[in-house]
């Protein structure tokens, strides 16, 4: 009897314990796969939907690393002024596009193209003449260099500016809906000296800054996996790497990852180039002052600060996706895939293992880009080659975060020159290798288009 009682008590304890564990277990809010989908930047994702969503630091940094990030952030926001008694070492200009990094990348976000006839503030124009230099880079324009600086310090003439106006054209979707597109027209104005007749120019709206550390960290295998330069699979989409020059290591043949044409191999090259060409600040990487007379040779910003700025850019977190469980968003995602968008806007990459910097190492990320060059057709072509990129080719821009552009920067403009005012216009400008995807999009019903847009808004 005692033994029976003992069994009953043991059975009770087991039953009670099991019941407690199972009856109190909270339901999983999301399945693992869905939860992962929100984490566009892997562990470097941040849950922030505010105007500051692009300016957050990644997790996993030491206190010292956070301090360096903060120093870089400070210089990103810093307004530069010309050399004077208050700023004896570092001087703005003499010609430049902006006074600070943040003026073009407001809230670490993208720039805004002007309305017709208005001056531009957060975009610039790259310049060249046909041919390449010893590094394979475009040849600078005599007297102007590789970029038009539209501002100058007092006492110096700006190089000139560009008047931007728009022509409006209409495309019709399969269901009869009209989509009005605006086509930019550029006209040089107030040039300080004559511009060669064979000048090539390319408008560039400034890009968002977040996630660049992850893009830099993507393994070469992950990028090369999508490359199909000779279209062996016959899907009409090539995907070429832009092999470019690294001005820090002085090595050519580096995979280009950054910029509208992937002409820059890493963040530090980008930082040094932007300091030099956009603000007129020299560094050890680009020690020649970017002025009309090309004088200089003095290093204004020390490597320590360039490194801090680079580290700041490298450690900006990616905003998480929203509404991934929403049925319409899910439908939109399926349409994004079946329409062929995902062939270039590749949804998944892996970053390389880096034992020296764990936060960016071995991450599964979803930037929605293959970071390869694609012929996008004549309507979008700038006609200005840059390293291996032809005048028709553009790097697939990552789509992560575009659903927050309105919040962060107050507009939904897209493409390299910001001509598209919304997602649908951006799709309608696709051509060349993307013509098939665009044609598929045009056949969608309104409900399907709305779903696809809702998916893009969730990114």
């Amino acid at each position: 009897m005692i033994k029976t009682k003992l069994y009953i008590y043991i059975a009770f304890i087991l039953l009670a314990t099991t019941s407690i564990i199972y009856s109190c277990r909270k339901p999983q809010a999301l399945e693992d796969s869905e939860w992962d989908e929100r984490m566009s930047g892997g562990d470097c994702t941040v849950f922030d939907e505010s105007a500051g969503a692009f300016g957050n630091v990644i997790n996993g940094l030491s206190d010292e690393d956070r301090r360096v990030h903060g120093v870089g952030d400070g210089f990103f926001d810093k307004t530069f002024v010309p050399v004077s008694t208050t700023s004896p070492a570092v001087g703005l200009g003499p010609v430049f596009n902006q006074l600070s990094c943040v003026r073009c990348h407001i809230n670490a976000g993208r720039g805004t193209p002007p309305l017709s006839g208005q001056p531009y503030q957060s975009m610039f124009f790259k310049l060249s003449v046909p041919g390449v230099d010893t590094h394979g880079a475009p040849l600078p324009v005599p007297g102007y260099g590789a970029q038009l600086q539209d501002k100058a310090i007092a006492g110096t003439n700006p190089e000139g500016t560009v008047m931007i106006t728009y022509n409006y054209i209409t495309e019709k979707l399969a269901d009869g809906t009209d989509v009005q597109l605006r086509q930019p027209i550029y006209q040089f104005a107030n040039l300080y000296t004559s511009m060669p007749a064979n000048v090539l120019y390319s408008p560039r709206v400034s890009r968002s800054n977040f996630g660049m550390g992850l893009i830099e960290a993507i393994s070469e295998e992950s990028i090369l996996r999508n490359a199909d330069p000779n279209d062996i699979n016959g899907d009409g989409i090539s995907g070429r790497v832009n092999y470019v020059y690294d001005y820090i290591t002085h090595q050519g043949n580096c995979i280009g990852r950054i910029g509208w044409k992937a002409a820059v191999p890493n963040i530090k090259n980008q930082v040094a180039k932007a300091l030099n060409e956009d603000i007129g600040i020299t560094t050890s990487i680009f020690p020649i002052e970017y002025e009309t007379t090309q004088q200089g040779g003095k290093i204004e910003l020390p490597d320590s600060i360039v490194n801090a700025l680079t580290f700041y850019m490298k450690t900006l977190a990616v905003p998480a996706r929203r509404n991934v469980k929403d049925e319409t968003v899910r439908t939109g995602k399926k349409l994004f895939i079946v329409s062929g968008c995902v062939k270039c806007h590749a949804d998944k990459h892996e970053t390389a293992t880096d034992v020296s910097f764990k936060p960016l190492s071995g991450q599964i990320i979803r930037p929605y880009s293959d970071f390869l060059l694609h012929d996008m057709g004549l309507a979008l072509a700038d006609g200005r080659p840059e390293f291996d990129a032809t005048g028709n080719e553009w790097r697939t821009p990552p789509l992560w975060g575009i659903g927050l552009n309105q919040r962060v920067n107050g507009n939904t403009n897209l493409l390299h020159d910001g001509r598209a005012r919304n997602y649908i216009e951006a799709v309608m400008w696709h051509g060349g290798e993307a013509q098939s995807a665009k044609d598929n999009f045009k056949k969608l019903t309104k409900a399907e288009r709305d779903a696809l847009v809702k998916f893009l808004e969730s990114l």
Partner: protein, 355 residues
């Protein structure tokens, strides 16, 4: 048999008790609170603060106009006092620099620093007429609060009325006119008859708002509030302190930097409490609903930060050289406040606000 009955009764009680959780009775309450916060933020904070800024900038312009017409030391003093008063309003508004003021780049045109001495000298030496369009096109380091401060206080803050040339006075008046125009634009962007950004906030969660959910708008307000606390600690104080360079001080001519910083924190508290023009429902109400001790901690830390900044008697430009432990302590107070808001308030909003 009786024993078995006891066992099963005990089992039922144990299972039931172990799963007992606090009932989620505050879901309706949180909806009311978030609606109130988003209704009150524009009407009690943003719009009245920006209206005050616009009006005060107009007063500053008028006082400068009077001074330029009759350049006496008394009129210069009035101008300086009006500058301080305008500055007090502006610094509070820096706690919510989101929306059109950010997108349209209005902030730098009002409050860029350091100023560009060499370019101001160059502009003054030129024969250019200081029209509205001319000032509008100047770099932001040549206009806004600080060039006005430079003119009316002078290096060292000992400006006398007769020291200003007529060219300097013309420039001063033109820059003040530009400041008046831009602050008026800031107000217009928020108010109902203009850009009506107020409606974007108050209608958050509806299809017409840029904020698809109330949570998005609350996080916008909160992050903006944290942003100014961060900027005061890490940039406005932190950078000059770290590199020990008074040339990086924000308001060096007027000696007003500590007051500027204190008013930034006052602005953050205005947002948190919703207490600028009249008492309303602020983020405080949401924190109080779920975590009273956190609410108390935030208020205490904000008050501590404000009182610390307000207590300085040594000018900022000297304190970063001569009172470094005290300045270090100030930076730490601000860092702690920021950390509390980032680590505790943000997660509270993210987890408790669901729509």
């Amino acid at each position: 048999m009786k024993n078995y009955l006891y066992i099963f009764v005990l089992y039922a009680i144990l299972v039931s008790a172990s799963c007992h959780r606090k009932p989620e009775v505050i879901v309706p309450a949180v909806n009311t609170v978030t609606a109130n916060i988003l209704n009150d933020f524009p009407t009690h904070i943003a719009v009245p603060n920006l209206l005050d800024l616009s009006n005060k900038s107009n007063e500053l312009y008028n006082s400068i106009q009077t001074f330029v017409a009759n350049p006496t030391d008394a009129n210069l003093y009035t101008t300086q006092q009006t500058w301080y008063a305008t500055r007090k309003i502006w610094e509070q508004s820096e706690a919510f620099l989101f929306g059109p003021v950010s997108f349209k780049g209005l902030d730098p045109a009002i409050d860029d620093w350091p100023i560009s001495y060499t370019e101001i000298d160059s502009v003054l030496k030129s024969s250019n007429t200081f029209t509205s369009a001319y000032i509008q096109n100047l770099n932001t380091t040549l206009k806004g609060f600080h060039p006005i401060e430079y003119m009316i206080f002078g290096l060292g803050g000992a400006r006398k009325a007769n020291e200003l040339t007529s060219r300097q006075k013309d420039y001063l008046l033109a820059v003040a006119d530009n400041l008046k125009t831009i602050t008026a634009q800031m107000y217009t962007e928020w108010q109902a008859q203009g850009g009506n950004y107020a409606l974007q906030v108050s209608s958050a969660g509806t299809s017409t708002s840029v904020y698809k959910t109330r949570k998005e708008a609350l996080l916008e307000i909160t992050n903006s509030m944290i942003g100014i606390i961060s900027e005061v600690g890490e940039a406005k104080i932190g950078e000059p302190y770290t590199v020990i360079d008074s040339m990086l001080e924000e308001s060096p001519f007027s000696g007003n930097s500590w007051k500027d910083f204190a008013m930034n924190i006052q602005g953050a508290k205005n947002v948190y409490m919703c207490s600028y023009s009249a008492a309303g429902s602020g983020l405080h109400a949401l924190t109080d609903l779920y975590n009273k001790s956190l609410d108390l901690k935030i208020i205490q830390k904000m008050d501590a930060a404000f009182n610390n900044l307000n207590a300085y008697t040594t000018k900022f430009g000297k304190a970063i050289y001569n009172e470094r432990p005290a300045v270090e302590s100030t930076v730490q107070i601000l860092t702690d406040l920021k950390k509390t808001l980032e680590d505790e308030l943000i997660p509270l909003i993210q987890t408790k606000v669901t729509n």
